[in-house]
């Protein structure tokens, strides 16, 4: 007759019974878990309409802001040439059009006449 610790036997039996407990999740629990999953799931990143506006696309089309600054400089230079053409351009214009108009933007005579520069 071998004697074993009866408490251990009881415990081992209880453990075995507990391991046999294998509940099937109810539909209600499945629904609760999936509802939670849906509620906290990171949503796919929905990009807003990131198509750039007209001006941005225009700037991009000409090559970005460096190109725009170059264009602006060229425009001002063109305007300048139009308003106060160098002598060679003036001659050409006179040849083609037959007349020549010259405007001096900084006429010292005019300024002196108006007293812009005071004597002394």
């Amino acid at each position: 007759m071998t004697m074993t610790n009866p408490n251990d036997d009881m415990l081992d039996d209880l453990f075995a019974q507990a391991r046999g407990v294998d509940p099937t999740p109810s539909n209600d629990l499945m629904t609760r878990v999936l509802t939670d999953a849906d509620a906290v799931q990171p949503k796919p990143v929905v990009r807003p309409d990131t198509r750039p506006g007209f001006w941005v696309r225009l700037v991009d089309a000409v090559g970005g802001w460096p190109a725009v600054s170059g264009l602006a400089a060229a425009t001002i230079a063109g305007l300048w040439v139009g308003v106060a053409p160098p002598a060679s351009v003036s001659d050409l214009t006179a040849t083609l059009i037959g007349d020549e108009v010259s405007i001096s933007l900084f006429s010292t005579e005019l300024m002196l006449d108006e007293g812009v520069f005071s004597d002394g």
Binding site: N5, M10, P23
Partner: protein, 197 residues
């Protein structure tokens, strides 16, 4: 029982979790089907009360969903992580339960065999859960993972983030304490004299 095929068959849980974090709705269903039964079983074995176990299972799964975006692949397995979370949630509940009789909350585990046998099984599971509640938390976790889940000591060491030697010590002390606690309830639980059922 599962009629719908698993479109992610063969994919590891960790990959599914990443898919879930990336917005894949189907991944959550597959993960739930795979993991929830195990999570619920662990909680039921530790707590002995199905309703409480369901709450813990839902809570554990919610924590999984929330950790998904920060999940670092290769560092841990989802199942290992869940064992730890469920064990912690259960010992939290067991601690709050100390001194409170489970008689008011106990309910049948299932509606299968005879009512008498069912009630006795329920009484035993409740008694085991009450005894676990009296152990220090780490002992209760180690004992439940070893003897209720049937995990190996290295697995438990990984789950509890301790050494195998510590697991052995915790389970040995825990089991001894559990036996002492349960000794006084032998007759009540149908273990008359030396004859385990």
């Amino acid at each position: 029982m599962n009629a719908s095929p698993d479109p992610f068959a063969g994919a590891p849980d960790e990959a599914l979790l990443v898919a879930y974090a990336n917005g894949d709705g189907q991944a959550a269903r597959v993960l739930t089907r795979r993991l929830l039964p195990r999570v619920l079983a662990q909680a039921t074995r530790m707590l002995g009360v199905p309703a409480e176990a369901e709450d813990v299972a839902q809570d554990a799964m919610m924590r999984l969903w929330k950790v998904a975006p920060d999940w670092r692949q290769g560092e841990a397995q989802v199942t290992t992580w869940l064992y730890r979370v469920v064990a912690n949630l259960c010992t939290d509940r067991l601690r709050k339960r100390r001194g409170v009789s489970l008689d008011q909350v106990a309910e049948p585990l299932d509606a299968t065999p005879s009512v008498t046998a069912q009630m006795q099984t329920q009484a035993r599971m409740t008694a085991l859960s009450e005894a676990l509640a009296q152990l220090p938390e780490r002992q209760a976790q180690a004992v439940s993972l070893r003897h209720l889940e049937g995990l190996s000591n290295p697995q438990i060491a990984q789950i509890m983030d301790i050494s195998v030697r510590s697991v052995e010590s915790l389970t040995a002390r825990g089991k001894r304490a559990l036996a002492d606690i349960m000794a006084g309830r032998k007759a009540e639980l149908g273990y008359d004299d030396d004859e385990p059922e």
